[in-house]
Every structure is written in C-alpha cells, then in structure tokens.
Assembly symmetry: C2
Homo-oligomer: 170 residues x 2
C-alpha cells in the first residue's frame, strides 16, 4: 500500500496538475489574456499565488518521498525560479521522473523510519506518520488550492480533472 499511496498516486496527482495547467493555457488563449496573470493569481492577498502552490506541491512530493526513504540528501534541487507555465510543467515532469526512480522495495520498511526536520528541534515522526499526516495532506492542500485558484478565475475544471482516471476493473 505504501508504494501505491506515494509513487503511484503522487504521479497521478502531478500529471493531473500538469493537465490543469494545460487547460489554464488554453483558457488564456481563448480569452486572449496573458496566462502569467493566472500564474500570479491568488485567493487572498496573503496567500501564495498559483506558481508557488505548484512549486510547493512539487517539493512536497519530492521531499516527502525523499524523507520516508532516507534519500532526501540526494533529492534533486529545484530553485523557485520558473517564469512560465512551460518551465513549471518541466519541474513537475522532473519530479514525476525522480519519484518513479523508487521501487516498491524502497518503500516497504518506512513505517518505523524516523523523520526529523531541523525546525522540529530534535523531535521526530515515524515515516508512516510523516506520510499520512504531513506529506499527503500538504500535497492535496496545494494541488486543491491550485485547482481553486484556476476555478475561481474561470478555468473550466471539474472533479475529473483533479481525480484523473480511475483504474476500473471488469
């Protein structure tokens, strides 16, 4: 379940986010405005804009997998210097590629791994706690907020854009 909850589902979510950005570009073209307006849109003046929501979502996925597998020190670094949707989508793609370099075996024994962030001053969470109570909530938070910013600005997104395809069986 650990691999499906992380690599598989994070990949799906990031791909869905990528597709939402495609719809944002199409909407800007249709309405004839600069899509950068959407990249810098936000729902409150003291909230991060769409660009930053996507950047954080990328980091949460990448660093989350890095921490629970004990590989965070070799996680690729991305500066927050993207200036276009295309650059943002490239960052998403790089994160998808990176997290897919992990196998099911890499994620089997994380339940009792200790995750200790510097700002936690010596305290820690188990890998499972960090995943369920920190990484997954944060990832959904930032992707849903990105969705909400686009939705608020008129991009025709629906729940299917967020959820993606279901792996139905017959």
């Amino acid at each position: 379940m650990m691999y499906e909850s992380t690599v598989v589902q994070f990949t799906a979510l990031l791909n869905n986010l990528n597709a939402m950005l495609d719809k944002a570009v199409a909407y800007a073209e249709e309405k004839d405005f600069d899509v950068d307006v959407l990249l810098h849109a936000r729902l409150a003046p003291d909230q991060f804009d769409l660009m930053r929501q996507v950047q954080i979502a990328c980091d949460v996925a990448k660093i989350g997998v890095g921490r629970i597998t004990g590989t965070v020190d070799s996680t690729p670094v991305h500066e927050d210097n993207q200036t276009s949707v295309a650059e943002l989508q490239q960052r998403i793609d790089e994160v998808i590629k990176h997290i897919n370099s992990f196998s099911t075996d890499d994620l089997i024994d994380i339940s009792n791994a200790k995750v200790a962030l510097e700002r936690w001053e010596g305290k820690y969470l188990t890998g499972q706690e960090f995943l369920i109570q920190c990484t997954i909530p944060n990832l959904y938070f930032h992707i849903t907020t990105a969705f909400a910013i686009l939705r608020h600005n008129g991009v025709a997104l629906g729940k299917d854009d967020f959820l993606g395809e279901m792996p139905y069986k017959t």
Copy 2:
C-alpha cells in the same frame, strides 16, 4: 497503515474542519455579519458553497469507510438539510463518532475488497484503490475547498488549522 490512513486521519481532518468553522463563527461575530453568508459563499458561481463542501466531506469520509469495510448499507444517513454552523458541526461530530466505531481489525483485509458503485455499471475498484484514488483525494478536495472559501473571505486560517497537531515524538 489502513486504519491510520482512514479512521485516525479522517477523524483528525474532520476535527480540524470543525475548528475552522469555529473560526468562521468568531470572524463573523468580530466583523458583525451573519455567518450564514460564509455558509453560502463559493469561489465560482457554478461551484458548491461552503455548506455543501462540508456536507460532501462528511459523506466521503463516512461512505468511504463504509464501502471499504463492506458496511455501507448500515452507514447512518444524513439529509442535506442543515441550516446553521451548529447543525453542520453536529453532522461532522456524528460522522467522527460513526467512523470511530470501526477497529483496526475491521480495516485489515480491505485491499482486495471489491467496491462497485451503481453508476460504474458493473466495473469495480479494489478497496485499496477506492481508498487511495477516490476517498482520500475527495476528502482532501472538499476540506481544502472549504478552507479556501473561508480564506478567500478573510477568515484568518493557516496551514496549521488544516494539518492539526503532529504526533511528534522525542
């Protein structure tokens, strides 16, 4: 991991949602407006309002646990007839109470359970797929959207309100 991903985390999320509604009430009192305005606020004209976002979050948690444990037919029914924050919070509390009637043992063997919704016309998902790709994303989607609606309307919510307390160890 299944129990922690469902009963434990859903309870935390619903309690956090409840506390966000408390902050909405306090904000309305402070600004001297009727909190019902917030209950009917939305981020787009064709999006569900805050009231409905919370009602759906309740149903996703309750029915999600019901389906993966094969007990959906005995899941308590809630009509969408709440008219106040207090009534909405009562519904949240009833869902929390219901999902906490399940034990870890009830959730051990769900991976291969079949979940088949009527509208899927004979297709199905495994319990694990339904949880990871449908229930969890939907729950986060509606709670984050509720957060975003309140945030957009000036309620001073931060990430900690969404995430709640972390179970740090020393």
